[in-house]
């Protein structure tokens, strides 16, 4: 999948990643890479501005955390607004995916 295709959905991917629990920026990148099986060919740096955008929109919040052994990291977590937004976007995506699938999947019968 090329970067342009993913860009429009990056916010949703990040929200879904943070649904599993708070994570720092690089952990989000790693999780996206792992769960997508490396399919998302996106410059990894673009995840940070997307995190910033979601934070400014109030969908995620960040806090500095210093582990016992290690560097201080900015850790992101979903806000209640972010959880609601993710639920809405999931429903929207399911509907969109069904509609486009009706055209792109040749074996799928047309809805009556």
């Amino acid at each position: 999948m090329n970067a342009e295709m993913l860009k429009g959905h990056l916010d949703n991917v990040i929200l879904a990643t943070l649904e599993r629990g708070p994570a720092h920026g690089y952990a989000v990148i790693e999780d996206i890479r792992r769960r997508s099986g490396g399919s998302f060919d996106l410059p990894e740096g673009t995840v940070y501005p997307a995190l910033h955008r979601l934070e400014l929109a109030g969908l995620i919040a960040s806090d500095w955390v210093t582990p016992e052994a290690g560097r201080r990291k900015r850790v992101y977590a979903l806000t209640p607004g972010g959880k609601t937004a993710l639920k809405d976007r999931r429903e929207g995506w399911a509907e969109f995916s069904r509609a486009v699938g009706a055209f792109l999947e040749p074996d799928k019968p047309w809805a009556a």
């Binding site: 410059p43 990894e44 740096g45 940070y48 400014l56 560097r71």
Partner: protein
């Protein structure tokens, strides 16, 4: 790694130089990423390639910050409109300039300019609420121009009273309005920097 981080961070900060807060945020994010890559033993040049093109990353930060900056600018415009309305009313009442039966050209410009400006602000506010934040700029510029014209007309109406007992207050209210207008123009010029990059 140190030199790479310095070169790349420097380029990123130059691109975002118009917003020091945003540039600092980008630098922190980059530092975290490069530190993680260094821990993983990745080659610095490869880390830079994977992070992405500096200009593309700066563009993403600018477009991420733009909606909030536009909403902040709308706040400044709101204060300007409120100050304009209150001071305009005060000057009219204090100086006995109310004359709806016999409006002068300046009073018409004053009132109409304010109403047009307020309407433009409502359009900007509605666009901001409907997730079309980047479309807020045009009505904000229009509002600034209309309120600027209204303020000028309002002060011209009050000019003859400048030498009177209320002269100092008239001058003070006018200065406050023009100061707010200048702040708004400054913010709109800053918004253009974001838009050019984004």
């Amino acid at each position: 790694m140190g030199r790479l981080k310095g070169d790349y961070a420097g380029a990123l900060e130059r691109e975002l130089g118009f917003d020091r807060q945003l540039a600092a945020r980008a630098r922190e994010d980059l530092a975290e990423y490069l530190d993680e890559m260094a821990d993983a033993g990745l080659d610095p040049a490869e880390a830079e390639r994977r992070f992405g093109d500096v200009r593309d990353i700066a563009r993403s930060y600018a477009s991420a910050a733009l909606p909030k900056r536009l909403r902040q600018t709308l706040g400044v415009a709101g204060w300007l409109a409120l100050a304009t309305f209150l001071f305009m009313r005060w000057r009219s009442m204090q100086l006995g300039l109310e004359s709806f039966a016999h409006p002068t050209l300046l009073s018409v410009i004053d009132g109409a300019g304010f109403l047009i400006g307020a309407a433009a602000l409502i359009v900007a506010w509605r666009r901001g609420r409907s997730q079309a934040a980047s479309d807020m700029r045009a009505p904000l510029v229009f509002a600034a121009a209309a309120i600027g014209v209204s303020t000028t007309a309002s002060l011209l109406r009050a000019l003859p009273a400048l030498g009177g007992p209320d002269g100092a207050l008239i001058l003070a209210t006018g200065l406050i309005q023009f100061a707010l207008l200048l702040v708004l123009i400054g913010r709109l010029r800053l918004i253009d920097r974001y838009r050019r990059l984004a």
